[in-house]
Symmetry: C2
Subunit: 321 residues, 2 copies
């Protein structure tokens, strides 16, 4: 059986999957990235997990990796990983396993997955926004992932959308992801609890304990403050999607990640704001939807597609100079 080994590297955990050429995940594993103290630790754990997989699937065609902070074939300056400034992960794995290895940023693997099996199937131009701890993004134009000069394109989370806005972990103020993400809506709830007099079940929950899921559950119960938080988030998100819509004119925008599980509660006010902001010529043509896929799975399948399509070699928008 021909397979691809997919690796989705994240700050909390790293997911591995063996994917067959029909894009079925035949085996998967989750490694705890957080306990790794340094790069050597990480690779020891990773190699330990990879070896039996490659032995079990000797017809593995290559390795596809999605990771944060990619730059060409390396992971560079990843603040959420216990890595040195620059880790030449492609070279390391190619040397060790003699398998073609492909690396793109995690937002892009999610976008590839959505194009293969999600709501972006059949779209030539689309954008995937993953609304989790941060805001990830993958952009596809004419069926190709937009990578930019060094594979770093599609970094939207740190666009400054509010002067002197919320402090971001990047050091700036007012970055998009401090508002539009699972963490962002939590901050919004606390801002609204401070600003407004609305009663809310959320007032009994500490900042440390509050999750975007709890905010969504409250909103479903009609909690006015939770609903206001979604409205506030959607207004900023809808405005940004309108801007992206006029920049790329995509067929669709797919929202994924934890916050997107709120579905209509997020979607309805987002679309309303987007349509208000779009110039008339762009109205009523951009489909904004929430993903039906498991985000982790989509990213793993997307990473596998790099291998099966040998994207390193064939894809002009993927290739870097």
């Amino acid at each position: 059986m021909k397979t691809a080994l997919s690796i989705d590297i994240g700050g909390t955990s790293t997911k591995l999957a063996m994917v067959d050429s029909q894009y079925k995940i035949v085996e998967n594993h989750r490694l705890n990235t957080k306990v790794c103290k340094n790069e050597a630790d990480f690779f020891e754990v990773l190699f330990h997990a990879i070896m039996p997989l490659l032995q079990a699937y000797p017809e593995t065609q290559g390795i596809g990796i999605g990771a944060p902070s990619c730059r060409a074939d390396a992971i560079v300056g990843a603040t959420n990983l216990p890595f040195s400034e620059r880790v030449e992960i492609v070279k390391i794995l190619e040397t060790k396993y003699a398998l073609s290895t492909f690396l793109i940023k995690d937002g892009s693997t999610a976008a590839l997955g959505e194009g293969l099996f999600g709501l972006a199937k059949g779209m030539r131009n689309y954008i995937v926004l993953t609304l989790g701890t941060g805001l990830g993004c993958g952009i596809v134009l004419n069926n190709e992932i937009v990578r930019g000069s060094n594979g770093q394109a599609g970094e939207l989370g740190h666009a400054v959308i509010k002067e002197n806005g919320r402090v971001c972990k990047c050091g700036k103020k007012g970055c998009l992801e401090t508002y539009v993400s699972a963490t962002g809506i939590k901050r919004t709830v606390f801002q609204l609890m401070a600003d407004m007099q609305l009663e809310s079940s959320l007032r009994t929950i500490s900042f440390a304990k509050l999750t975007s899921k709890a905010i969504f559950e409250a909103a479903k119960q009609g909690d006015a403050l939770a609903l206001a938080a979604f409205e506030y988030t959607a207004k900023i998100l809808g405005r940004k999607i309108a801007e992206l819509g006029m920049t790329f004119e995509p067929e669709g925008v797919i929202l994924a990640g934890g916050l997107a599980s709120a579905k209509d509660v997020l979607l309805r006010p987002t679309i309303a704001q987007m349509e208000r902001d779009l110039l008339p010529a762009f109205r009523n043509q951009i489909k904004v939807v929430t993903s039906l896929l498991d985000t982790n799975e989509a990213a793993l399948l997307g990473a596998a597609s790099l291998v099966f399509n040998n994207i390193k070699a064939n894809n002009p928008l993927y290739s870097h100079s």
Copy 2:
């Protein structure tokens, strides 16, 4: 001599040029678009100008058009032209002259021109911003113009960058081009005259009479208010370029149009703001420059390149579904 007929349609004037295959403009004309009362008027004037050109250059290979408000092969909802809602200009010219006719939006013709003969030469990924009456934009990724699903991509001027900001002619408030354009900096000067006590030579000029050129001349003389207006404009522009920089990771951003003639007065604070806003991984790699080309000429040469490269048929990022 093989030639292409280039047409650059604008609200004030429409430029025509016969361009040879070495991209030399062998003849050019300017039609007054403003006096045309309607579509029929416009085409009468246009046909009248085209006919002798085609007779003089019988080896004309096709017609390349840059225009505002393109949608696929038509001009749709152009508020600055005396047109009905939808003008099938490609079909009209192909029927009349039996020549392949190519249409893209004006920001894209400017971008093609910059790539052929300007500072974007040799760049695979770049963005051209034309800062004139409004803000135009053309985006090139992997040597291809980004068109979007219907040829409307690259519309940045109406991104809302300030809540309850300046009223825009599109009906919204806070659109980018109400700040970052020749008209935008003029509005900024009047805002600063109201807000600040700074003396300025510009205080003797009426709104109707003030031009971005006069603001630039004053800035060159060290006029503090004029300089403050450039700083204010550059801050918004630099922030937006940082956002575009992280979205596309281009090699360069070329500023063209009237406001860009201020060169360093605009460029220096723009680049400073951009670098501040970029995530570290993106810093010191995006070249921001002001165009060395005549904007009209660049657009006409860009339009000619559509013909010589038969871009309708061959170019995946150009083609529409």
